[in-house]
């Protein structure tokens, strides 16, 4: 969950390199912290829905860039101070498939 993400570097990443502990933390972050705008069920709130229906057709790179750098003119901030490029890639691929629930 640390480190400054660099988008070009991401394209060279061989595969998803997010460890299990980090995955748990990422799931929690997406459900809880992204959820404060996008809704805990990710169906949208002040932010847009993050459901597979809403995201599956969108290009992966632009979604990753949105997470890391935000969307100017909207309330979406860039999360690069808290998420690495591989974190963002992991989040995007899982959002597009249907994001996992937190283990409770």
């Amino acid at each position: 969950m640390r480190g400054l993400g660099l988008l070009p570097a991401l394209l060279m990443l061989p595969a998803l390199v997010v460890h299990a502990d980090d995955q748990t933390a990422l799931i929690r972050m997406v459900r809880q912290d992204c959820g404060s705008c996008h809704g805990m069920t990710l169906k949208g709130g002040l932010g847009t829905p993050l459901t597979p229906q809403a995201l599956s057709e969108k290009p992966v790179e632009s979604l990753i860039a949105t997470i890391l750098y935000g969307r100017p003119g909207t309330a979406m901030p860039g999360w690069k101070s808290m998420l690495s490029a591989s974190d963002a890639q992991w989040i995007v691929s899982h959002l597009q498939e249907g994001f996992p629930e937190e283990r409770r």
Binding site: R28, D33, S36, C37, G39, M40, T41, G44, L46
Partner: protein, 387 residues
């Protein structure tokens, strides 16, 4: 056989609703955002006394209380509106009133509960007794364009003030005739994100996300229109990423001044509550989310957006300085003062814990485990304007 008899006796007693006589002034509830439960609490014993499930998606849920302070109305994110009896610890009534909601309010006379909705954008008014729909005001700010509604507050005259995120306006709907509300519109600015009414019910403030500043409407003289205060307080210097929208709900008027979260900046802004001119700023640990005044106005408690959401800071309103920095737990989401403010309850979502502080000594008075606690709401809100 005996067990069955005891069981029958229990059913019989429950059927008679044998609730011991007691008031509700020291009761309240805690939202468990992830599990669709609320935990009912007692601020005298500092303990939970019941837990109720089946309230749906409670992320960003909030509650208001009936004027007899017996019933709580809980507004869920999924559009569920649930009426809970605090004495019998049960759900009295539950309706799905929209697809995506963000809170609500109760009228001055206690007869109307109003929900504010994102989808479809607008407000809906319900009879507080039956939860029967009375009226709705779609937030159609231009033909065919609907806005998300934020910052709903009850204001005197059985009116409700609220702001339109996309519409950039403040609306005031008068429910003198509950089935035929009359709405007036005022310009606010770019992307109002939340609102509050001052404790006297006179001024409605809408915080702006899309520009630096706050829109202010004097409800005693609405014909004079809205104006902007705290313009250009600094976010424009460099648009800062905002990791959580600040919340304006909560009385943040204390010691003759309004204490307001700066959007993006690690600052609390202070404005004179008579002239509405900026009188100072307090540097704080992170991006403020809640900036809440204690009932006596002596202290301001502040929590923060991620990644500083493990901290809480306390500002002394006399000196305008941070006098205490606390670490109540992981992911502090909300704080609620006891009715007269001797203690404050703090929810730490990721520690699954509510921690209670003495506001004089800052020592911990107690605490207990709750599943992913978020909002904490005490019945003292029943008698307050804007709560």
């Amino acid at each position: 056989m005996l067990t069955r008899l005891v069981g029958l006796l229990f059913v019989f007693l429950a059927g008679c609703a044998q609730v011991p006589l007691r008031g509700t002034g020291d009761l309240g509830l805690i939202i468990e955002r992830a599990s669709g439960h609320v935990t009912l609490v007692n601020t005298s014993s500092r303990q939970p006394y019941a837990r109720i499930g089946g309230l749906g998606d409670l992320s960003h849920a909030s509650a208001v209380f009936s004027r007899d302070a017996r019933y709580a109305f809980i507004f869920g994110r999924d559009g569920g509106l649930t009426k809970v009896d605090l004495l019998e610890a049960r759900i009295v009534k539950r309706v799905m009133q929209s697809g995506n909601a963000i809170g609500g309010s109760i009228s001055q006379d206690g007869r109307i509960v109003v929900a504010q909705n994102y989808t479809p954008g607008g407000i809906k008014a319900f009879d507080s007794e039956t939860l029967e729909l009375l009226a709705e005001v779609p937030a159609e700010y231009a033909p065919g364009s609907f806005s998300k509604v934020v910052g709903l507050a009850d204001v005197p005259g059985n009116q409700f003030a609220y702001a339109l995120f996309e519409g950039g306006e403040i609306w005031v709907s008068d429910f003198t005739d509950p089935k035929r509300p009359v709405t007036k519109r005022y310009p606010a600015g770019l992307q109002p994100y939340d609102g509050l009414v001052t404790p006297d019910g006179r001024h409605y403030l809408a915080g702006l996300f899309g520009e630096d500043g706050i829109a202010l409407l004097d409800l005693w003289q609405p014909e004079k229109g809205s104006r902007k205060i705290l313009e250009k307080y600094g976010r424009g210097e460099e648009k800062l990423p905002v990791f959580k929208m600040p919340h304006l709900r909560g009385w943040s008027v204390a010691a003759g001044r309004a204490w307001l979260p700066a959007v993006g900046r690690h600052e609390v802004l202070i404005a004179d509550a008579a002239t509405w001119k900026e009188t100072g700023r307090v540097a704080v640990k992170g991006q403020p989310v809640f900036v809440m005044a204690s009932p006596d106005g002596r202290q301001i408690w502040v929590n923060f957006a991620i990644p500083d959401n493990g901290w809480v800071q306390v500002i002394d309103t006399l000196t305008g300085k941070v006098v205490q920095t606390l670490q109540p737990g992981k992911a502090v989401l909300h704080m609620e003062f006891t009715p007269r403010g001797e203690a404050v309850w703090v929810s730490a979502r990721d520690d699954n814990r509510v921690v209670i502080y003495d506001t004089k000594t800052f020592q911990t008075l107690g605490g207990f485990d709750v599943d992913a606690p978020s909002g904490i709401f005490f019945t003292s809100r029943a008698a307050r304007i804007g709560f």
